[in-house]
Amino acid sequence: MTATQQGRRIDVLDGRLYDDPWETYTWLRERAPVYRDEQNGLWVVSKYADLSHVERHPEIWSSGAGVRPVPVSMSIITLDAPEHTYTRRLVNKGFTPRMVAKMESHVREVTRGILDTIASRGEIDFVEDFAIHVPLIVIAELMGLPPEDRHLFYRWSDDMMAGDNHFDADDPVMQRAQQAFLEYVAYLQGLFEEKRRNPADDLVSILLGVSDEGGLVQQRPDDTSLEADELLMFLVLLIVAGNETTRNAITGGLEAFSRFPEQRERFVAHLGDTAYRDRAIEEVLRFTSPVISFLRTCTQDVEYGGVEMKEGDKVFLLYQSANRDTDIYTDPDSFDIEREPNDHLAFGIGPHYCLGANLARMELRVVFEEMFARFPDMRSKEPGIPFQRGPSSLVMSIQHLPAVFTPESKGSTP
């Protein structure tokens, strides 16, 4: 089947597509669930069952050849078993529900501190004044980076992320991405000496220790460039994945609560009901799905979804679309915090299921609970208008969101 036979030409790597992708997703699911994007040479998977099937069968659809259209070795997300299993094990015990629960009261304190900084303002840029902070502080603390340097991590992380799907070294976006990477590497290398002298219970210390003993799997053993350094790439992955995603779920969640104000009222009315809150957070995750896409590579010829995929073919997975599939969800474009069941694919499924899912859930619980407890009318200033977002086909990348709320009068105690 060709794109024209399918009736529509869609460039899934055009980041601007995702400014308002919903009608395109619906068309794909209904008309071409395994769509051929000829221009980019990709099979595009948009339905829940298909995305789940592909992720559950890594022996057929592999991550080892990269998970982005321009492949970059990126530690655990571009490894297959058994190397994937081994490398992920180095850190996964820190992300279990039990370990994450231990951090909750601290994250609550951190969140309250950020809310203090906006309390008297009444009007903010929700992204820069609020949503970025908690995820950056939490991942910095877990990694053992000084949280007060988070404005640096924010810029580096955004600039590196923007480099996704760029490959021309003269491209200004690519140059900024490269610059950010080099600055982050220099920063880390400055920190490594201190961590070697005084190793702590943090991810940099742990991974540095393993790396110094030669214990990290080399994906590109003959390549001596910084981009092939497994320790550095693991630390790039952690800082980016640990803040970009949750930040966009927080911002996207506020927009959803603003566009569906009766849902905000319900949430506020049920503050203190943890089961109600947990279910609401799953709907925030389904509805926002901050990760737009990842990619897999066929390890063999395979017939699937009515098409013949060849060994080496690339398969592009659309998470937001899967989470709006009418085969699974009634009225999927409605934000309904009482939705049940709600086994969304915002974190993926299978071996590459988001390592930080439990952490992200906890951050979202705490952030929405604390925020709405203190500012129950926090809302987007102009609900329903398209997000101001970066042109990414990887993450939502919401740059700004003007928000308003009833401020606390100066001098009053919260």
Binding site: R56, T85, R98
Partner: protein, 63 residues
């Protein structure tokens, strides 16, 4: 019916325990323990759900 866990995949997310506490227990050491490897047939619906909802797709049923 036999419950099989791929120990290379399991990350103790404890979703299975929430669905079928008769069969799955994640202990204080964050290790999953199978309480009943050959559970009775009346648990099949729950176990099917655990298979489907395990985020790591680490559980399967034989027989």
């Amino acid at each position: 019916m036999r419950v099989v866990v791929d120990w290379n995949l399991c990350e103790s997310n404890a979703v299975c325990q929430g669905i079928a506490p008769e069969v799955f227990l994640v202990g204080e050491d964050d290790e999953l323990e199978i309480l009943d490897e050959n559970p009775p047939e009346e648990l099949r619906a729950k176990l099917d759900e655990a298979v489907r909802r395990c985020p790591k797709a680490a559980i399967s049923l034989e027989g």
